[in-house]
Symmetry: C2
Subunit: 101 residues, 2 copies
C-alpha cells in the first residue's frame, strides 16, 4: 500500500515534468511557426520556390546527428521534422495570406 | 539584385533561427522520452494500466489553451501531442524492456 502510494507520487512527479516539457514545446513551436510564416512571406514576395529539397536534406542529417548526441532515436528526429514541415505546408494552404505562384 | 541579396540574407537569418529552434526541440524531446520511459517502467513494475484516457483528455485541453495564448493553431498543439504519444507507444513496442501485461 505504501509502495503503491510512493509509485503514484513518482508518477505524478514525472507527469509534472512531462507537462512542463510540453508547455515549453508549444511555446517554442509557436516561435518556429512565426519564423516559417516570415520565410513564406519572403519567398512569396521574392518569387522564390516554396520547397527546398537540398535544405531539407541538410536539416534531416543535422537533426539525426543531434538526436544521437541526445540519445534520442534518430528516426524520431526525422519524423519530427517531417511532421512539422507537413504542418507548415498545411498551414500555408489553409491560410494563404501569401500565396506562392 | 541588391534586393534579392537582402532577401537571401534574411532567409538565411530566419533559417538559422529555425535550426536553433529545431536543435532545442530535439534535446527537449529527448528529455520528454526519458520521462516517459521512467513512467513506462514504473507502470510495468506496479502493474498500472499503460494508457490513461482521462489524463490524455486533460493534456489535450491544457495544450490547446497554451497554444491559444502562444497564438499557435490549437489543432496543431493537439496533433503534436498525438504525434508524440504515438511515438512513445511505438518506442515501447519496439523496445519492450518493461513489457506491460
Amino acid at each position: 500500500m505504501a509502495d503503491d502510494q510512493s509509485a503514484q507520487e513518482e508518477l505524478l512527479d514525472l507527469r509534472n515534468s512531462i507537462d512542463n516539457i510540453d508547455a515549453a514545446m508549444i511555446y517554442i513551436l509557436a516561435e518556429r511557426f512565426r519564423c516559417t510564416q516570415r520565410v513564406g512571406a519572403l519567398k512569396a514576395h521574392h518569387h522564390l520556390p516554396p520547397a527546398d529539397p537540398a535544405r531539407e536534406e541538410v536539416q534531416v542529417a543535422r537533426l539525426r546527428r543531434l538526436a544521437e548526441s541526445a540519445r534520442l532515436d534518430p528516426e524520431f528526429a526525422e519524423k519530427y521534422l517531417a511532421f512539422v514541415i507537413r504542418e507548415v505546408i498545411r498551414h500555408h494552404e489553409k491560410f494563404p495570406r501569401h500565396p506562392v505562384a
